[in-house]
């Protein structure tokens, strides 16, 4: 086993972890498994692509690579636009679909089914707008830097890992140290009771969507930067996201990130020892094992 497997696994795992935080938050606070979450990753990636393209055509200087990275200032600015856009998209879908179903007191499984319908709609819409041809943020090639101990990584990969770590820490601190975070945890425990003590449940719901969608957009942009952008990318990541959210324990942000890294590392190991074509089955194998051995996940809070 080469140490490089660990590096590849960590990078994929960081993307999965960021996405899984959104899944675990919607699951614990809105109480349903959102099959449309993967599409938020793809929409984030494509929104950044469109915004970066527009910025680049306004000012070509934004496209000159920053320092060692493969992209110019257009991409970080586009990423902020994409985060805002994806958050708006999530709020729109909630207003049109999930919110109405919640108001009608539909059962959880109807919400799950609606998310399944929303996923296919969103994905096909992307395919309609951008076609199914793969796209890239930059055409620049990067040389992987030796990090010592046989490890190599490109500057882009190291930046992604660093940003992912900062974001996880920020979300964790926000949930545990701020009033908004406390309100979110209260709604997750008991929405009725939270409403009775004066917590604005609607605001909490909005915050959950904005946070989940923002993190999904960033995960999607990383996936687009490090691999490629395709309308199917969200669908391909959906099972790893669910596996990570369940393995980490529903509702646990550090758990989702750690489990994301575990899923990413297992995928890298499978690519190394079994073959790249079986990568997609790794998440399923992990899911089956968790459900068999520890259905509450690694870090579940006592119910």
């Amino acid at each position: 086993m080469t140490p490089q497997v660990v590096m590849d696994g960590l990078i994929t795992g960081a993307m999965i972890g960021l996405g899984a935080i959104g899944v675990t938050l919607t699951y614990s606070i809105l109480r349903f498994a959102n099959f449309a979450h993967g599409e938020l990753l793809s929409w984030g990636a494509y929104a950044a692509l469109a915004a970066a393209g527009a910025l680049g055509s306004v000012s070509g200087g934004l496209l000159t690579p920053i320092g060692p990275f493969s992209f110019g200032w257009a991409l970080p600015i586009a990423a902020l636009i994409a985060v805002a856009f994806t958050g708006g998209l999530a709020l729109l879908v909630d207003a049109l679909l999930f919110g109405r179903l919640r108001d009608k007191r539909s059962s959880i499984i109807i919400l799950v089914m609606a998310s399944f319908g929303a996923a296919l709609t969103l994905r096909s819409l992307l395919e309609f707008i951008f076609t199914s041809k793969p796209a890239y943020y930059t055409k620049a090639l990067q040389i992987a830097l030796p990090l010592g101990g046989g490890l190599r990584a490109t500057p882009d990969q190291l930046l992604s890992l660093g940003i992912a770590a900062i974001l996880v820490l920020a979300v964790h601190l926000m949930l545990t140290r701020t009033a908004t975070g406390r309100a979110m945890r209260a709604v997750s425990e008991n929405p009725q009771l939270a409403g009775v003590v004066g917590i604005d449940v609607r605001r909490v719901v909005r915050t959950v969507w904005l946070m989940g969608a923002g993190l999904a957009a960033i995960a999607g942009i990383f996936a687009g930067l490090l691999v490629q952008i395709r309308p199917q990318m969200g669908l391909d990541l959906l099972l790893p996201l669910f596996a990570a959210a369940i393995l980490g324990g529903i509702g646990s942000v550090p758990g989702a990130m750690l489990a994301g890294l575990i899923v990413g590392l297992s995928e890298a190991l499978a690519v190394q020892f079994v073959g790249a074509e079986w990568r997609g089955a790794v998440a399923f194998a992990i899911l089956v094992l968790v459900l068999l051995l520890r259905p509450q996940g690694l870090f579940a809070r006592p119910q």
Partner: protein, 341 residues
């Protein structure tokens, strides 16, 4: 011309009826029992591949080809899908409701991967061809051939419909709906909810496997691409449109949605230039997705809606009660109120 038209109508209906079988399976899982299966395509694929392996002639390039008779293949495909459903159900049904959904989604992804990569068993991306078709000796006369196949499908769907109707009206079916409506009450009456759900899920999966086998033998060729998440989505749209919880609704929805699908696909290929067709096909999926969400919001019952039924003996009871208005009447009202709750 008219012969062609009848031929096409027969082909269309045969396809629609094969979808109706999948819908009937899903109706047992979702409509009667409330189990959400997001991996329909996976279970259909298992049925199709197992039946194809059992019935095709020996092929030196891959495992098997056992040259068995078609009905044995149907049975085998159905059994295999039923067993996989049972295993997945046993793993997840005792847990949270949406874990089953996630796990079935995983089954669909994994079956798709296995079909693509296990080239020595499934033929890889090129799939399996030369699957024996019923009435192959009639293939010279395409009209007769289509009508004969339509007949096979019509008989299969009718038999399945009658069997399922009998099943859901039996005490067993009553327990399923009781668990779906109020699990605590059903368990208080001593019904093992997990076991009943598991049985319904396994039987429903077996019916989907049967549908996969039937479809494979009708078309004569299968490939992993036929079993994309799109298929799951179409079947769900069919059941929701027709009315979940109603076996006739499942069949009606299959014919209707397949009709809309085939008509819009035909319109796209006739009206649009070839380079735009892939994009238009994406829009077609958007349309179905929006329709599914709209029905969930506006008319969750579907066209026919769920039939209210308690027991097939209840009709007799009510008639007797009308003849002599006494105690049994309140009994039947109480029962139907329980059904409404």
């Amino acid at each position: 011309m008219s012969v062609e038209l009848i031929g096409y109508a027969a082909f269309f209906l045969t396809m629609a009826l094969s979808f109706a079988i999948i819908c009937l399976g899903l109706n047992l899982q979702w409509g009667q029992t409330g189990l959400f299966n997001v991996g329909v395509a996976g279970f259909v694929a298992i049925g199709a591949y197992v039946s194809a392996l059992m019935t095709t002639p020996d092929d030196p390039n891959r495992f098997g080809g056992f040259d068995l008779p078609i009905p044995i293949g149907w049975l085998g495909g159905s059994l295999a899908a039923g067993i996989v459903s049972f295993l997945i159900g046993a793993l997840t049904i005792r847990l949270r409701a949406d874990y089953l959904a996630i796990a079935t989604f995983g089954v669909a992804v994994t079956v798709q991967l296995a079909a693509l990569n296990l080239e020595h068993v499934t033929g890889g991306p090129f799939g399996i061809g030369f699957i024996p078709r019923p009435f192959a000796e009639l293939a010279g006369n395409s009209l007769l051939f289509s009508l004969a196949n339509l007949g096979v499908l019509a008989i299969t769907v009718t038999l399945l419909y009658l069997a399922l109707e009998r099943l859901v009206r039996s005490p067993w079916g009553r327990v399923l709906r009781a668990i779906r409506e109020d699990e605590t009450a059903a368990r208080a009456l001593g019904k093992n909810a997990t076991r009943f759900r598991l049985q319904a899920f396994a039987i429903g999966g077996g019916v989907m496997g049967l549908a996969g086998a039937v479809q494979a033998h009708f078309i004569g060729f299968i490939a992993p691409d036929n079993y994309q998440p799109m298929l799951t989505f179409q079947v769900w749209a069919m059941l929701i449109v027709g009315g979940s919880g109603n076996n006739r609704g499942a069949i009606l929805g299959a014919v209707l949605v397949w009709g809309i699908w085939a008509a819009s696909a035909g319109a796209i290929s006739a009206l649009l230039p070839p380079e735009q067709q892939a994009r238009a096909a994406a829009l077609q999926i958007v349309m179905i997705g929006v329709a599914l969400c709209a029905i969930l919001l506006l008319r969750p019952r579907g066209i026919l809606g769920e039939e209210r039924m308690v027991s097939r003996h209840l009709g007799k009871l009510a008639r007797r009660a009308a003849a002599e208005p006494a105690a049994p009447q309140t009994d039947s009202q109480g029962a139907s109120r329980a059904e409404n709750a």
